[in-house]
């Protein structure tokens, strides 16, 4: 309790080095946005994360685990966030956050200091540049506009579920369920043109057409 009180009163500079934290943030920024104009993406935006109950952002499709823990009273105070960043699954067993955790306390402190800047007074966010992600590949609007066929997506998806679990569980292979369709499409095209490095994914994406990528995005984005 004492720790939680200290946490809510804490300033960024008491937690760690926010400037170093901006670099640690690179691990997070593939899925999360923070700062001016931050929106929900693959993960929820993290403006005002400190002091917010888990699973609380309206309009973001959380895992059952985070909704459950939020109902159980989990609030993102310093100590809880630290535990989550160290080993997400240890704190919330069925989170969809596909991240193994930050091993060192220094990294966790620094990234929390970085995040802390966007929390105290959300209406008074410092004059930092918006961190909304630059897209890895620039896609023509007509590619993003393709409406995917979810039935085709369901068949194509069987090729993905040999590794990626359909319920979004993470055991070493990232969750791909409930992503915003645009993020899914951009990620797959990034593999296809080999901007993203993973050889298996380059190979899998490499033979998918624009329509097939859209079909997969529609299917995985709208799973029950």
């Amino acid at each position: 309790m004492g720790a939680a009180l200290i946490a809510s009163a804490a300033h960024a500079e008491d937690i760690g080095n926010a400037e170093a934290g901006a670099e640690v943030w690179d691990y997070c920024s593939g899925c999360h946005e923070v700062g001016q104009g931050a929106e929900n993406g693959i993960g929820p935006h993290l403006n005002g994360i400190f002091g917010r109950p888990a699973g609380a952002i309206e309009g973001y499709n959380y895992s059952k685990g985070l909704i459950r823990e939020g109902k159980n009273g989990l609030v993102w105070e310093l100590d809880k966030l630290n535990a989550y960043l160290e080993n997400p699954k240890a704190l919330v067993s069925d989170t969809r956050m596909s991240f193994d955790g930050l091993e060192t306390q220094e990294e966790r402190d620094d990234v929390m200091a970085y995040l802390r800047q966007f929390s105290d007074n959300p209406q008074n966010i410092p004059e930092a540049a918006p961190t909304a992600r630059a897209h890895e590949v620039v896609l023509a609007p007509e590619i993003l506009a393709i409406v995917g066929d979810p039935e085709y997506g369901e068949y194509l998806a069987t090729e993905c579920t040999t590794c990626h679990q359909i319920d979004g569980a993470y055991d070493g292979i990232p969750s791909i369920t409930h992503w915003p369709e645009d993020d899914f499409v951009v990620a797959m095209h990034a593999y296809k043109v080999k901007v993203r490095p993973h050889p298996v994914m380059q190979m899998m994406a490499g033979r998918l057409t624009d329509e097939e990528i859209a079909a997969l995005a529609a299917y995985f984005g709208n799973l029950e």
């Binding site: 068949y155 069987t158 090729e159 579920t161 040999t162 070493g172 292979i173 298996v200």
Partner: protein, 423 residues
């Protein structure tokens, strides 16, 4: 094939109506199409699960599998190396049963293709409209002179996971200090091409810790093997001087064993060994032979549907099939099962059939956190399943990448087993 297909497409609308309103179909229960799947591994379990799940009750699915607890061959080497508990690679069939599959623990002992029935050892006779055979492998009689099934307690094959894996692990761990472990490797084609060499790595890992002066000999009837450069680099990095691989160029194919004497003769030179893993030449699981759908050792199939080339009402999956370019692996069987499930549903209920896509990735562990992988994508041609593109880990990769590859394989294991067993 053409006639059946046309007839079923003709009833597609009715079948679709039945899908959305299963009670309409209930009063026509006798007419519900029946699928029997033989073998509950990566091919059979996946096919049974997907046909039951995606047909939403419109198809009766029965899975015949003798084991109540299935131990995956993939990751059984990691058990031998001490990286996994045996219980962590065991799976029951409750998830499939809950998913609507009628799971029957029995042996299939006969197929009557004219009557479209399967006879079980317990005496039951099952009718089918489509039969899916995914029985895995059996060993070719007399493939390794001196070895037969009565020798497998002294010289285990450990190539069907479970009691054999436990036995071989125990024998490795009780070798005398400075003793010799021998492996007789199989000729192509065989289940899990990198499997014997990952196993050697795991045996070396155990011996390095417990018995560092022990030796490992591999008698191999092949001149090269899967991921050879990666394994040989890893063996020299981690287990320098411990492993002696004798390929066919050096007489590795000229082997005889004596299980009572615990000796292995390689190209005429007899060696006394303390543990010996004999992996004989393989063939399709015997039920394929009994069904009369094999040519040589394997059951040839059409790539687009995995239908037997001998009988259009039978599909063959995984190791037992002769399909073309895919390696015999759990990943391949799982991939083929999804193509098969779609084709079976299409034929029996008129559901939409999309072009077949196949893929495979095989991860191997060389030592702690030193994982490598190889993979490819495939498509169906008239002749075979044909390779489209592939990749392989590179020699000299850094430790972080190798660890990431291993971590990924652990994630894949969780993924494929939940995809197979639905739990």
């Amino acid at each position: 094939m053409t006639l059946n297909r046309r007839a079923f497409i003709g009833t597609g609308a009715a079948a679709a109506a039945a899908l959305s309103a299963p009670h309409v179909k209930a009063d026509n229960h006798a007419g519900k199409p029946k699928v029997v799947v033989i073998g509950g591994g990566a091919g059979g379990a996946t096919a049974a699960r997907y046909i039951a799940k995606d047909s939403k009750g419109a198809i009766d699915v029965t899975l015949v599998e003798p084991s109540r607890m299935y131990y995956t061959c993939f990751f059984s080497n990691l058990y031998m190396g001490g990286f996994r508990e045996l219980s962590s690679i065991g799976h029951s069939y409750g998830g499939l049963a809950k998913g609507g599959v009628n799971v029957v623990h029995d042996w299939a002992v006969g197929v009557d293709r004219a009557a479209k029935t399967v006879t079980l050892a317990g005496g039951a006779v099952l009718n089918y409209d489509r039969l899916v055979l995914s029985p895995g492998i059996d060993f070719v009689d007399g493939a390794v002179p001196g070895w037969d099934v009565t020798s497998q307690n002294k010289m285990p094959h450990a190539y069907k996971a479970g009691s054999q894996s436990e036995l071989l692990k125990a024998q490795i761990e009780s070798m005398p200090q400075g003793g010799t472990f021998a492996m007789v490797a199989p000729p192509n084609p065989f289940r899990c091409p990198p499997g014997p060499y990952e196993r050697i790595s795991m045996v070396a890992h155990v011996l390095k810790e417990k018995n560092p002066t022990a030796k490992i000999i591999i008698a191999d009837p092949k001149a090269k093997f899967s991921k050879m450069a990666l394994f040989q680099e890893g063996w020299s990095n981690h287990y320098d001087g411990m492993i002696d691989w004798i390929g066919s160029d050096f007489g590795g194919g000229n082997v005889e064993v004596n299980a009572n004497e615990m000796t292995v003769s390689i190209d005429g030179e007899v060696t006394k060994v303390d543990a010996c893993n004999v992996i004989p030449a393989m063939k399709a699981g015997r039920i394929c032979e009994l069904a009369g759908i094999t040519e040589g050792n394997w059951a040839p199939v059409h790539a687009a549907t995995m239908q037997s080339r001998v009988d259009e009402n039978i599909h063959v999956l995984g190791d037992a099939s002769a399909q073309g370019d895919m390696p015999k692996s759990g990943f391949s069987a799982n991939s083929q099962a999804k193509v098969c499930a779609m084709a079976v549903r299409g034929a029996l209920t008129g559901s939409k059939v999309f072009p077949a896509k196949f893929s495979n990735t095989c991860w191997s562990l060389i030592d702690t956190d030193d994982g490598v992988k190889v993979g490819a994508t495939y498509e169906a041609t008239d002749e075979k399943i044909a390779k489209v593109a592939g990749f392989i880990s590179k020699t000299g990769e850094d430790a972080a990448l190798r660890k990431a590859t291993f971590d990924e394989s652990v994630g894949w294991y969780a993924g494929i087993t939940s995809d197979m067993f639905g739990s």
